[in-house]
Amino acid sequence: NSGNSGGGAAGGTLRIVLPQEPPTLEPCEASLTATGVVTRSNITEPLLERNPTSGELEPKLATAWTQTEPTLWTFTLRPGVTFSDGAQFTSADAVAAIERTANNTTLACNVQGYVFGQTGKLTLAAPDATTVTVRTEAPDPLLPLRVSFIEMTKRDISTTEKVREPIGTGPYKIASWAAGQKLTLTAWDGYWGTKPAYPTAEYQWREEGTVRAAMVVNGEADLATNLGADDGAGDTAVQYPNNETTALRFTTDQAPLNDIRVRQAIDMLIDREGIITSLFGGLGKPASQLIGPGVVGYNESMTPTTYDPAAAKALVDAAKADGVPVGTQFRIIGRTAQFPKIAESIELMQSAFAQAGLNAKIEMMDTSAQLKYQLRPFVPDAGPVALMVMHGNQAGDAAFTVGQYFATDGAQSTGGNAELDAKIKAAAPLTGDERQAAYADVFKTQTDAVRGFAYLANMEAVLALSKSVDYRPDAATGDEMRLGDMKPKA
């Protein structure tokens, strides 16, 4: 075998291949997948953490949190935690980290926009060394969930510039980062929790899925993420759900997509099973809504639309009979390499649309160009567009989805109606089962009354895992891959 397998997992180094190099390891950018997957819970840690399986929040650097007033949350910190440089972790650090991530708009952190975009300013205080209080402008049942996105950094961290190589309390610290080549983390002695099984972890990155898979198969790496079914991971492949849902989002105000029958027809023309079996190699489940099971608000009662070209054709014909210009061309826009076989999937849809008498044109774009269609402000006069979107709800709560995609003024919404807007607004302050029911209703309403989306699949991915490593990926693995969970096989 290649001379490189000597350093394998047994030798104490865990070698991981990612699809891309993290642009930075700045903790406040941890909601960027490429950054978070390395930083979160490895280099830095949050106060609390959401269990991806149960959806419950679990203590991490905070041992307890309570809503002491409707707008005030109190967090009790874990004592005896130190940063990897030896400094003590105290409430002052926590305050500084929350302040920097949630309130600092000049820094424009990813987490800030992602999690705290709509919350308004937080007011922070540290009554003692192990207590932190957070006051919100309005009552916010989600605050602990939001805080779980904030990675703890030292109080003296820069508030004006982002930090490429942070110091955190996590089990690993950065040993070296040869930009473009390799990133090495090492475990350090003073970690408060269980010592990880691997003393060092090495990250590399390869864009091509086949190459990532080949590296694990060939013994040059122990773990490779984000593979497609065809990438050739072979018997090293381990399937895992990756939180993402793919869908076509319509501009509902332009012919022919302004007619709900046409949109329904399109929905029926998507051969979800076919795509998943033939293209995705069985990875993924047909989707019925924009989030996957396990997210608060998931509507169990909805089922994926069945593939029915005949019924679709009938709908199109009916619309045509009513004077809808069904032959008007609309664009299907996709982002290059957003998920494996995206081009082929769209191609299959387009061909089905064409057979039903619809006229669709495919356009694949790079990320930047595609975002102009996905995010407000949209491209003016773009014409009728069916945009392929992939949404991942990392937070596990529908609130992070519906406001964005369904509300008429949502940053990524091109449809909606007043009824739906009202329901979305009403659901926000609710908690518990009420919350679940309210959001489930939102999804149902969207599909029945608006149908701004045709869902494709709740995606799954493949991870290539060396036979010598013991690891069970979960729904969060794509965004946060805890090295501590990985162990050499006996």
Binding site: N1, S2, G3, N4, P23, T24, S31, L32, T105, T106, A108, N110, V111, G113, Y114, G117, Q118, E161, K162, R164, A178, A179, G180, Q181, K182, Q204, W205, R206, E207, E208, T210, V211, A214, M215, V217, N218, E220, G232, D366, T367, S368, A369, L371, K372, Q374, L375, R376, P377, F400, Q404, A411, Q412
Partner: protein, 311 residues
């Protein structure tokens, strides 16, 4: 020689500037990077703020002036993506590409000279025709295809080479270089063959033979040196192509080079890095061109004299 170099450098300055300006303008035509750098749910104000902070809201000419002012201080700006100094990033990535290009070109030349000379010694012979077909085919194989095939065969099926990366020492170089080499070697072989055929048929080769020179001496001392200039021109163009276009191979093999940096910068709309990388490659291409001219002059005394380099 010095005056020649100075003149060449001066005449190269204008195109160099044109390249930098062109990239600046073109890059900006590809849109504001704000949406890429801010999360999907960032507010419109946040995006505006981001643009203002990075100067993307100013009119393009004023951005250009700022940029040029920076460049005169050798400040190419900072990367949006990593916050690092753009020039540093480009300079860090460049050696990897350069090493790859240099080794590839050396090997491609060696192959081309070997096969080309061999084919030229018996023009139209069986060996010549076979090598002709092979070199033509080599010149028309898609590189990414070859790369993946190579990984599959040599790394996975045979397990003799690493799939990618730069860690495995010499072994890591084998596949990228083999893949990159194929086209230049194919093209160059054809050129060398043609040049050698005409050199071997020339009177001075006859004279050398009349002096009793053996075949080795004829090829090495007489023909090859005369066949070199046309091959040098083509090799130069191919090298430019390598410096400018090793993107695909660098991507597949995870080679931390400038091509990969450039394509990432393009896709990420990381203007500063893109400009720095383009400026660096443009400079290196101009340097390469000058080096080729010098090589020409060294190879061929006539050129040297014409350009007034020696006196």
């Amino acid at each position: 020689m010095l005056t020649f170099l100075r003149r060449r450098a001066l005449t190269s300055l204008v195109p160099l500037l044109a390249v930098v300006l062109g990239v600046f303008v073109l890059a900006r035509l590809t849109g504001n990077p704000a949406s890429l750098y801010l999360p999907e749910n960032a507010t419109a104000e946040a995006r505006e703020q981001f643009s203002a902070a990075n100067g993307f809201d100013k009119p393009i000419w004023s951005q250009l002036l700022d940029y040029l002012a920076g460049v005169t201080r050798l400040d190419f700006g900072t990367s949006l993506r990593t916050g690092e100094d753009a020039a540093t990033m480009a300079l860090r990535a460049f050696p990897a590409t350069l090493q790859l290009a240099v080794v590839t070109m050396i090997l491609a030349c060696a192959v081309a000279v070997g096969v080309g000379c061999w084919a030229a010694l018996k023009p139209n012979g069986l060996g010549d025709r076979i090598s002709g077909m092979l070199s033509m085919t080599a010149a028309s194989v898609p590189d990414f295809w070859l790369a993946i095939l190579g990984i599959w065969v040599f790394a996975i099926m045979l397990g003799v080479l690493p799939t990618s990366g730069v860690d495995a020492g010499g072994a890591s170089w084998v596949l990228p270089i083999a893949v990159l080499m194929v086209r230049p070697a194919g093209v160059l072989t054809q050129v060398v063959r043609g040049a050698m055929i005409s050199a071997l048929g020339s009177p001075y080769v006859k004279v050398a033979r009349a002096k009793g020179a053996g075949e080795g001496r004829v090829v090495a001392r007489h023909a090859l040196k005369n066949a070199a200039p046309p091959a040098l021109t083509v090799a130069g163009d191919l090298a430019v192509g390598l410096i400018n276009g090793a993107v695909v191979v660098e991507t597949i093999f995870g080679w931390p080079g400038i091509g990969k940096l450039m394509i990432d910068a393009i896709l990420q709309r990381d203007f500063a890095v893109l400009q720095a990388a383009v400026a660096l490659t443009a400079i290196s291409i101009f340097v390469l061109n000058i080096a080729i001219d010098i090589g020409y002059a060294l190879l061929d005394a006539r050129v040297r004299n014409k350009s007034g380099a020696t006196a």
